[in-house]
């Protein structure tokens, strides 16, 4: 397997409580990996270690390594903003910045000074809004406030904003849980289209979504990885009793 993210001996503690226990997994490149498991099992915590968002929560401790392209992102000399540029995040609730649609897409590119002039920015905004499937709906009102969009549109805008800084990895923390079914489907089909170019890691608590999206599956329970493998293997022939119980809806 061509691993894009490698997790080695990862332990995470919230003050005294251990949230992740000795995690060792690999996330395959240019596929959709779905992390699933019952609530409180540590899926979101694991996801947050991939873009170093965990340290935004006070009182957390982490041991072990998370390697992205072979580089441990917790090394002392690693610039956290570079990590987050490479590892993008689609949050649970759409969070448009309080500015126009256009400025939302430009935001990250501007921060990293990725384009030379207005023309380049304009072209990039169009490009990423098209990728996110939002261009047709908003191209006539790019300078309206982003909050004027519907929730589903806002989430696609957030996707465009994240893609605009040219990440290699997209993390999704239950990215459709706040959306209606049609908007969810829209986001799902975007993610499937994008997986040729991006490594995608999605946390979800809906089994059906996991089955629709996953190429690779990680099943977690109480802070431990119980089973990890290709979607076909795990869904059809789970090796572990716990996974089987979860897939059959017993947990």
């Amino acid at each position: 397997m061509d691993a894009h993210i490698q997790v080695k001996n990862l332990n995470v503690y919230y003050s005294k409580q251990q949230a992740l226990k000795n995690i060792n997994i690999e996330i395959p490149k240019n596929q959709i990996t779905v992390i699933m498991g019952p609530s409180g099992c540590g899926k979101t915590t694991l996801l947050k270690t991939f873009n170093r968002f965990l340290e935004l929560t006070g009182g957390t401790q982490l041991t072990g390594e998370v390697l992205v392209d072979g580089q441990n992102i917790y090394d002392r000399d690693v610039d956290v903003t570079e990590v987050r540029k490479v590892v993008g995040l689609l949050a649970q609730r759409p969070s448009p910045l309080p500015m126009s649609i256009y400025d939302n897409v430009v935001y990250g590119m501007n921060i990293h000074r990725m384009k030379k002039d207005r023309k380049e920015y304009k072209a990039a905004v169009r490009h990423y809004l098209e990728i996110a499937g939002l261009w047709d709906e908003v191209h006539k009102r790019l300078h309206d406030p982003a909050t004027s969009l519907s929730i589903g549109q806002q989430q696609r805008l957030c996707l465009a904003r994240g893609l605009a800084v040219e990440p290699e990895i997209i993390l999704g923390d239950e990215p459709t849980s706040a959306l209606d079914p049609i908007s969810s489907q829209n986001i799902e089909s975007r993610l499937i289209e994008l997986k040729k170019q991006y490594t995608t890691v999605i946390v979800t608590h809906t089994l059906r979504q996991a089955k629709r999206l996953a190429d690779y599956v990680i099943y977690m329970y109480l802070g431990e990885v119980i089973e990890a493998g290709s979607a076909r293997e795990v869904f059809n022939d789970p090796q572990h009793e716990r996974t089987r119980a979860y897939l059959e809806g017993q947990i």
Partner: protein
């Protein structure tokens, strides 16, 4: 929901044939409950009543002078000679404005920086230690600040700031040193800045906490630094609240009396430089009310000064509170 439950309970209690009826104590308990509620209501309304009474009695008591002189002569007149019937408030009004402006201007940059640090950067531990200490600053009695100003700030202005200004800034008229004592607007402004800082910081801190973390995270997630996030996302959101906090601080500064009158020099002349001595309205009232009351209209003049002060402070307070309350409500709503 709870309202409904309560009313259902009342019914079962008052109905004598109800299954849960307690005929002996129930009616009495209900009456007592109502009386307690009414008492609390009256006590809560008392402050509103007090403000109204104070305002109305100030208007009544200052009416004699307000009707005897045109407002222009009172508020733009520059000569204060009550014994000759001249009541010009202008020097006092200008002094009040200067002292307040210098105080707020000096307090603004450190207050913004401290509140940004506490709300955005500081660890939980730093925050839990620093906040109470800041609140303690607000608990120091004004007279102590005044004495501190007298023994520390006045000499500092006299020995350090005035010579510095004379050397480098003497061409700018508002920095000109016309009287070399150290007492004056700058000393009062410095003391005021320190006095109002805790209030401003604690309001600003609250305002910063109204920005949802989702927004900060959205910015950090694309690789923005914390400062970029603060500058481009947080500050634009809190700008109205920051201004409101400063206006609230200004209203506190406007009314501050004892600490100011100890260091401001109390010279009833229209100031032209921050090194000039001046005589703000609260100091005028505090120094003179009760003396020389035999002079006609003197008492009324001082109370009209108090009225002006009260109205300005009330307006400042109400405006800033409206903005702050609105922002806090937004936080609770989200």
């Amino acid at each position: 929901m709870t309202q409904q439950n309560q009313s259902v309970n009342y019914e079962t209690i008052t109905k004598p044939e109800g299954r849960h009826a307690r005929p002996s104590g129930a009616a009495h308990r209900r009456r007592l409950d109502q009386n307690v509620r009414r008492t609390f209501l009256v006590v809560t309304l008392l402050p509103i009543l007090l403000i109204s009474i104070v305002t109305i009695s100030l208007i009544v008591r200052s009416w004699p002078i307000l009707s005897a002189y045109p407002l222009k002569d009172l508020f733009l007149g520059t000569i204060w000679r009550p014994d000759k019937g001249l009541f010009g408030f202008y020097p006092y009004i200008v002094a009040t404005f200067w002292v307040t402006a210098v105080g707020v201007l000096l307090a603004t940059p450190p207050c913004i920086l401290v509140s940004i640090y506490l709300s955005e950067y500081a660890h939980l531990l730093t925050r839990t230690i620093a906040k109470p200490i800041l609140d303690l600053l607000a608990a120091i009695p004004p007279v102590v600040y005044g004495v501190w100003g007298l023994v520390a700030i006045v000499p500092f202005v006299d020995k350090v700031l005035a010579p510095f200004s004379e050397r480098w800034l003497s061409s700018v008229s508002i920095f000109k040193v016309n009287q070399p004592t150290g007492f004056g607007i700058l000393a009062a402004g410095i003391v005021l800045a320190v006095m109002i800082a805790p209030l401003i910081i604690s309001v600003m801190y609250e305002i910063f906490s109204t920005v949802p973390n989702d927004l900060r995270h959205a910015s950090l997630a694309v690789g923005a630094t914390q400062w970029q996030t603060i500058r481009t996302v947080v500050l634009p959101q809190v700008a109205p609240g920051i201004i409101a906090a400063l206006v609230l601080g200004a209203s506190r500064a406007l009314g501050e009396t004892i600490a100011v009158l100890i260091v401001v020099g109390n010279v009833p002349k229209v100031p032209t430089s921050i090194f000039d001595a001046a005589y703000p309205l609260p100091a005028l009232i505090a120094n003179n009310y009760g003396d020389m009351m035999s002079i006609p209209l003197y008492d009324s003049a001082l109370l009209s000064a108090a009225l002006v002060l009260l109205i300005v402070i009330l307006i400042f307070n109400i405006l800033s509170m409206l903005v702050i309350q609105r922002m806090l409500r937004r936080k609770w709503a989200s």
